[in-house]
């Protein structure tokens, strides 16, 4: 009885794994995913290390809710406000999705700053991770631009005048300011093109840049590994002498070559 059950179980397992093996053999994606998910991290990472993935999650929430909102939003001066009202008041669960997008924007920015603070206070921006800090700063700038361009889209009085002030603030920058403001408005006055231009920047241009930079950011995180907290004894070299004697004292040994392309898909991840 038990044996028959285990045979069925084997068959089921086989049936499940055949497509995985098929995919792995042709693309190496499964091994890559395993390498990404089960890569080695310092033993004493803590909850502060989750702020980066929390920020990523907030960004994904913004992406998904934003795409759904774009189903119904109309970026034209005569229709924008009415379409927002329609989404909020008439559409089933529209208030929820718009609320997620609206409040999620603040969550995204707050998490960005918390993540940035964690990296700063842990000294995780130091060699060899300076480049990732720079990428993070660019991501922060783009996220702020998302906030700036998204704020206009509800097209109410607050949105309009806040954007007037925001654009004119840009215009006061020396030398390039007036050109920047003309570019943002699409002319010398806020007009029919301004809203569509902000919408395009908000949902196409800037998210494209964000996705590209996040990909690079993650690549460097995986390549360089995660830093130990500054109070870590391991990082000080108490346990792993061979690491601490090297110049890259804080850098954990890279799990390179032992997980890049897994040869056995069924095998459990190494430790």
């Amino acid at each position: 009885m038990a044996r028959a059950k285990s045979k069925r179980k084997q068959q089921l397992e086989h049936a499940l794994l055949v497509p995985v093996d098929w995919l792995e053999e042709r693309s190496g994606l499964v091994g890559g995913l395993k390498y990404f998910l089960f890569r080695k991290v310092p033993r004493d990472t803590n909850w502060f290390h989750t702020l980066g993935s929390a920020t990523l999650t907030a960004f994904i929430v913004q992406l998904v809710t934003g795409v759904v909102l774009a189903f119904y939003y109309k970026p034209s001066p005569n229709e924008a406000y009415a379409s927002i009202q329609y989404i909020t008041n008439d559409l089933t669960l529209g208030w929820l999705v718009r609320g997620m997008h609206r409040w999620g924007a603040s969550v995204f920015i707050i998490l960005l700053f918390l993540h940035m603070g964690r990296v700063f206070l842990f000294g995780a921006y130091k060699y060899p991770r300076e480049l990732n800090w720079l990428l993070g700063v660019l991501l922060l700038v783009l996220a702020m631009l998302e906030g700036f361009t998204g704020y206009l889209l509800p097209w109410d009085q607050t949105a309009y005048w806040a954007t007037v002030v925001g654009i004119n603030l840009n215009a006061t920058a020396p030398f390039l300011g007036p050109f920047l403001s003309d570019f943002l408005r699409g002319g010398q006055e806020i007009g029919t093109d301004t809203l569509a231009r902000f919408y395009s920047m908000h949902m196409l241009l800037i998210p494209g840049g964000l996705i590209a930079l996040i990909t690079l950011h993650l690549y460097l995180v995986i390549r360089l590994g995660v830093t130990s907290p500054p109070w870590s004894k391991e990082a000080a070299g108490d346990e792993r002498k061979e690491v601490s004697t090297a110049k890259r004292g804080l850098l954990e040994p890279r799990p390179r070559g032992d997980g890049g392309v897994a040869t056995d898909v069924r095998g459990r991840p190494e430790a």
Binding site: P77, N78, W161, V164, V165, I167, N168, L169, A171, T172, P174, F175, G177, P178, F179, S181, D182, F183, R185, G186, G187, Q188, E189, I190, G191, T192, D193
Partner: protein
């Protein structure tokens, strides 16, 4: 000499024993250009076709000569300088590189860059240029002159670009100053705060709003002691001079003209400071500038001239 073709590498003239390549030639390109000129001439001008045919004959002849020179037993003209450039570089590092692979690499990068530039530059231009060119302000009819009593301020709300609809609603403070040299004189101030562009409000009681007939203009009489901005506390006197707060110059003004007894609004312009009052005011015009931008003083040199 004909057997030279069949057994390349054996004769001392062929030192590059690895491959027998025809020497580089420009004539196929020139011939193609001539053919293109013929086709262009068919559309544009018959003379271009004639010139194209002549060029095609000449270049075609040169091409054929080039191709057949070995058969005819003439020495290759451009063979000597080519081999020495290949060998020293090939020795420098790793596997040998051949003329052709270098050429292909250069061609791929070069042509790729050219295609990229051809595709990208117009798109980039389209993304940026419309914000800077053809920016003009259409004239706006503000109604008959007798709607504007002498010495009285009116809040005029109008549609600056009728095709754009309500998005182009703007507000100006208008006062008729009476006749000056037998021409009606107006003071027309934009309500946009020159700090950061919020709408300023007249400080003082306002009368009853009335709509003008035939034009989308709304007038409200007011007796202001000055203008104030709700956003950051900028304050101006009735002539638009800054009296307090963060603004960096006086309120912008509008040009105007009188057409068939009606007040017609022109382009806005920026003002540093107004001396005097009403019809006697002395105003220096500056090109319309963004709020927060200095138009006079040393700070003006921080900002580019925007026509």
């Amino acid at each position: 000499m004909a057997d030279e073709l069949e057994r390349p590498g054996e004769t001392p003239e062929h030192e590059d024993a690895e491959a027998h390549l025809p020497s580089p030639t420009i004539w196929p390109f020139a011939f193609a250009g001539a053919v293109a000129l013929i086709l262009l001439g068919l559309i544009v001008n018959a003379w271009a076709t004639v010139i194209g045919v002549a060029l095609a004959v000449v270049f075609g002849f040169l091409w054929i000569r080039q191709v057949t020179h070995e058969v005819r037993g003439e020495p290759e003209p451009i063979e000597a300088p080519a081999p020495p450039t290949v060998e020293p570089e090939a020795e420098e590092e790793g596997p040998p590189r051949y003329e052709r692979s270098k050429f292909l690499e250069g061609a791929t990068i070069g042509i790729g860059a050219a295609i990229g530039a051809i595709v990208t530059l117009p798109v980039l231009g389209f993304a940026v240029a419309p914000a800077f060119v053809d920016q003009d302000y259409p004239e706006v009819d503000l109604g008959p002159l007798d709607e504007y009593p002498e010495g009285e301020w009116l809040i005029a709300t109008f549609t600056s670009i009728p095709d754009d609809g309500k998005i182009s609603r703007r507000t100006a403070f208008v006062r008729y100053n009476g006749m000056q040299d037998s021409v009606p004189s107006f003071s027309i101030l934009s309500n946009r705060c020159v700090h950061l562009g919020c709408p300023t409000q007249p400080q003082g009681p306002s009368g009853e709003t009335r709509e003008l007939e035939g034009v989308p203009v709304v007038l409200t009489p007011t007796q202001p002691s000055g203008y104030g901005c709700p956003c950051h506390g900028g304050a101006y006197d009735v002539e638009g001079n800054r009296t307090a707060g963060p603004p960096v110059r006086a309120l912008d003004r509008y040009e105007y003209s009188i057409v068939e007894g009606r007040l017609v609004l022109g382009s806005p312009y920026s003002v540093a400071e107004v001396e005097g009052e009403g019809a006697d005011a002395v105003i220096v015009k500056y090109s319309p500038s963004d709020p927060g931008v200095h138009v006079d003083g040393p700070e003006q040199y921080l900002y580019p001239y925007v026509p």
